[in-house]
Symmetry: C2
């Protein structure tokens, strides 16, 4: 099995400009992501995937490779499905692992156990989820409980929130779906792997970054 | 309108023993909760509700009142509905606000805007929720998205997670439901008020406590 780690990095993030270059614990988010993938020792190749050439030297300095995606796949209307497909068309592998730099509290241990799950499980896609052991509501309607009785929260079936901190796709299944004009992200058998709440903390705003910085030592020790 | 704040405090919490007495930023969780309710300036009365007498002097020292619930309503099989009903049988009010001490990052500002929402809205129950702008799955099935297409997460309708950091019930509606043998927690018109992710952070484990301590300064400033 060939396993590739791919770290997406857009320069044009909207809410937090140049998000991937923001620093936490002395290094940019993108660098932490590269080092984490390398430290797991489980990937045949580690790639940074960006529309912007500035990420090339950063990737190379860290011993990772650089895939420059077309400019159009770096704007806000491009979906992850589009740039993942474009990457897979160029780099064949058994499984692609998309590791998000904006989840800096995902640890090397988390990455390892995620990869091991893919190696053991017969799935086409594996999604990282945070489990919510609380009552969840969608459009005003209960999801995992009923308005007819109050359950203690420990007795609820959790709702799983896909956090995209790390995602795996079987290359062949993904590309078949793309070529058939179907949704590739959820093609084939989809499985879900719980990660800790902190591993699933994703940076979208300035406040999220403050939270990640404050929690860094809780996760990684002082 | 008579508005009562009630802070539940069990001595026998299972996962974290004596949870309410754990300290954060120099004071026990229960004390922070009392002070927060008082600082809002919006409650006619602030009560601590416990099966254990040790909380009496703590409440009184902080200028709050103490309601001692029957022993049986303090064990792990008792539901919140049971002890809320028992409290309301003894203390009449227009609205009861249950404020959880285990959500220490809920601020005075959060409490105020929650109370104001109750004053403006014609609801029987108001629940604090954290909005999840990510794909949610329940029993392997999509809740707010479809496996047939990949949506950018900013286009998803959020799933709302009831965090119970603060909850309001119209006393009359709650007690009518109880007397009719129906579920009181969700009786009448239920509304949902979003709070920040940090305000909704609830302490159930040692790690949750570490997280709350690390985030204290992010919320309250240094």
């Amino acid at each position: 099995m060939t396993l590739i780690a791919m770290i997406p990095a857009r320069m044009g993030s909207q809410r937090l400009p140049k998000k991937n270059l923001l620093e936490i614990a002395g290094a940019p988010l993108i660098v932490h992501a590269i080092r984490k993938c390398q430290a797991s020792g489980l990937f045949d190749e580690v790639w940074v995937n960006s529309e912007h050439p500035d990420f090339g030297p950063i990737a190379e300095r860290e011993g990772a490779r650089f895939h420059r995606r077309p400019e159009a796949l770096g704007d806000n209307n491009a979906t992850s499905e589009q740039f993942v497909a474009e990457f897979l068309e160029h780099h064949d592998c058994s499984f692609l692992f998309q590791v998000h730099s904006i989840a800096p509290l995902l640890t090397v241990t988390d990455v390892k156990s995620f990869v091991e799950r893919v190696q053991q499980d017969d799935c086409d896609a594996l999604m990282s989820v945070v489990e919510e052991n609380l009552e969840c509501v969608f459009n005003g309607e209960p999801v995992n409980f009923t308005f007819a009785s109050k359950t203690n929260s420990q007795d609820l079936i959790p709702v799983q929130r896909i956090v995209w901190a790390i995602t795996a796709w079987r290359c062949a299944t993904f590309l078949s779906a793309i070529r058939a004009g179907q949704c590739a992200t959820y093609a084939g058998r989809v499985a879900f792997k719980p990660v800790s709440r902190m591993a699933g903390h994703v940076i979208k705003t300035e406040e999220d970054l403050d939270i990640a910085r404050a929690l860094w030592n809780v996760v990684h020790g002082t």
